[in-house]
Amino acid sequence: MSEQFSRRDFLKLAGLGAATTAILTGCGPASRYVKREPYQQMPEYNSVGQSTYYATTCRECAAGCGLVVRTYQGRAIKAEGNANHPLNLGKTCARGQATLHGLYNPDRVQGPSTGDWDSAIQSVADAFKNYKPGEIAFLMGMAPDHLFDLVGDLTAAAGMDAPIRYGALSMFESRATLSKAAENLFGQPGLPWFDVGNAQAVFSFGANFLETWLSPVAYTRGFVGLRQSETKLRGVLVQFEARMSATGAKADHWVPLRPGTEGLVALAIGKLASELRGGATPRIFSGVNPAEAAEQAGVELEALEAMAQIFASNAVLAIPGGAALGQSNGLETAEAVLALNALSDNFGKPGGVYLSALAPNQTEYSGPASTEEMAGLVEKMKSGAIKALFVHGVSPVFELPAALGFKEALANVELFSFATFPDETAKEAKHVLPDHHGLESWGYQRVATGVSQSVLSGSQPVVSPYYNTRATADVLIAAAQLAGGKFAEALPYKDEVEFIQTKLAALLGEGDGSFSAPDAATFMAYFQQYGGWFKNSNALIAPDGSGALNGSIEAGEAEFAGEGEFFFVPFVSPTLAEAGANKPWLQELPDPTTTVMWNSWIEINPATAHELGVEDDDVVKVSSEFGALELPVYRYPAIRPDTVAIAFGQGHTAYGRYAENRGVHAGDLLGARFNEAGDLAFGGVKVRVEKTGRKQPLSRMESIMGVYGVGLGGEEH
């Protein structure tokens, strides 16, 4: 820069910078690494006072929403949705917004446990060489997919078992049950996608699709389409569940069923509706008696008849969701609810049921492991069949119910944790090799559901790594090369970026894409710029459900463990989910239904609370066959009197200052019983509630708003 460079010239240039920022963003060479530099040496494309925006993928859950992150002088300032990303169209959920509190979390793991990366990588290479391939297991989270692919290549070449994927969200979504039911019904595996937006009416059996279920941002868009559309009347949402979820709070009709009777009720409504419509009653409904079903479900027959009336006069989309499927009869429930859709003949039609599009680099559906498969892994660890375990992207010690005994089984294995945060699993690990935060990382994520197109979402670092962390892909590549032989052959890459480029090269010649490029480097540059690549055409799979009504489903009674008098509904906190507790602003977000912040509570119907002699903030002891918890009462007006509920998300014993020793872990009350699809029957537990006499005030938003009249001079009720 010459000395004649005047202030006027500078201002011109700065103005030009503002105009061109958007165009230049992400267009750099494929191997660009962003660095945080002092003011004198700005990262490329940055000029003082101007923001730079990078497209990447949100890692707060596995849905794969696109983000555009505003950076300023090398710091990430704000995460926004990527308006060009077909999954979220520029929108984000609260957890996506708070992703920066993960990046800048004061309690991140700042370096490898060995002190230096050379010896850390050596320890991985030693494990590869010292253990037999069958003695090594990889446990991966639901994101990111590029790392899952890399580990898949490694394990396949080295003769190890394929990596297992798991997450508490997939457990509470009952994903395995949902896809298994779809496979049984349609003869084709896949993850169902429910076109809520084009439906006339939606009957949701426990699907909390506006909160954490599968792809909440996309389903929220669907919900808006259901309610408001230029082309059809306002749609109706009916929610069947024992405890009103935040989704149920938006429903036009909320029907509180006894847990475990959802399948039976679905069949009863199907029978009533088909009788109302006239004609022969389909075989699948022949065995059900609506009056008995209502009796078992603990609702009035009139309530079911009213819903059947809605069903008979609308094309109804029926959705089986997590809470209804997390029962011993969950698979039958899922099949019964899916089959209801046949009455509306909506399989593969707008407003109906599809199988989700496969992502661009995916040839067949693959879902996460069921909790029963996780129990199998625990067995192998206990028996010594597995001697080395690598964990990335999931904290099984926290996310699995304690009853599965994962933590105890860790005594027998050499544990490698790639955790970004000091979570419960990292605490138990012999080796901690911290990965970058998602906003410091390369990668891609296959969009599993939520959109009609086939979408591969791209990640790139938006800031340089803050700490002495290293990309797990780079660690594995380096370790494989150290180990030599078939390991080195499996991962012949210079680094993670080269691996991703190699995988993306397969898409280079594909038509119908959101962009095309003449060569791999340009493709990668566009991939970064746009935050992914997707096909323009509709790639939803229309399933064949023609036989749905001719089957027979035995909607048996759900089994419950324990002698307690209350059904127990564990639900995922809509704002914290499984990994949000370490983000202070997520802690300070009021729970959407109770407005409680920073803690755990047990939801009890006010009438039940009165019988028990407890008020708000009275601490009670809740015990099941498997464990006991003490926590304050929240009198929740929208829960069955025979049911209590606790949110999952708090109760960490590690995971940083904002999460530790705060609230209780709902999983501690759960057992290890599974449904036929192998998902945990997390709703199959009965609990006892006893008064302790202590009080613990809950911090809640509503008290200052006078919901119960507090602070406004009204009477407390």
């Binding site: 917004q97 929220t220 977000l589 919901v707």
Partner: protein, 241 residues
Amino acid sequence: MIRPEEIKMSAEETGKWGMVIDQDICTGCQACVAACAMENNITFVGEVDSGYGRSMHWIRIERFWEGEYPEVKMTPQQPMMCQQCGHANCEPVCPAFATVHSQAEQLNLQVYNRCVGTRYCANNCPYQVRAFNWRDYQRPEPLQNQFNPDVTVRRMGVMEKCTFCIQRIHKAQDTAKSEGREVRDGEFTTACAQACPANAIVFGRVDQPESLVSQLKHRRHGVKHLEELGTLPNVTYIKGG
């Protein structure tokens, strides 16, 4: 009871920027609350202080219960933030002129470095949307790296509230000015509206009849909260389908 002359008064509003919130599709997911906190350098206060009602939310989602089990219903979620009143109750009571009406933007400004912390404005606000910094809340290293350089970081003893993301308004105005034009409706939006997965919050120019926010406001049954107080709010709520 609303008197006819008050209805006339609210029809004569002179606001420039306005918001329409559709409670029928708001799911209460809290994305707007998080987005607002991230954009505006809002501090978190922790469990104890939030329990005392000292949390600093500039936007909150109100919800109430109607009826008793099993006929219980949650009222439509109601995002509540500063209504940017045309006749604001907070303004005349400030002895320091810290909360004043901007002629240029037609908004309620909060001038942090004038604020002496009398809290008269918060006492007088019928919407209860002002947040007071009762302490200097700590944001340990490296959380402060996230600070938005366009927004002042507030300290103890200062009142704050929703600004309609005035930093974004100014940025858009600067860009428009350098290009010799007016700010276009939809050119930018507030952090809450940008994040909202349901598009329940729409922000824009209420002084332009063709803008989306004006159309929504007039096309459907919009209501303004506590309109009968004559506050002339610039936020319109749509209830029911």
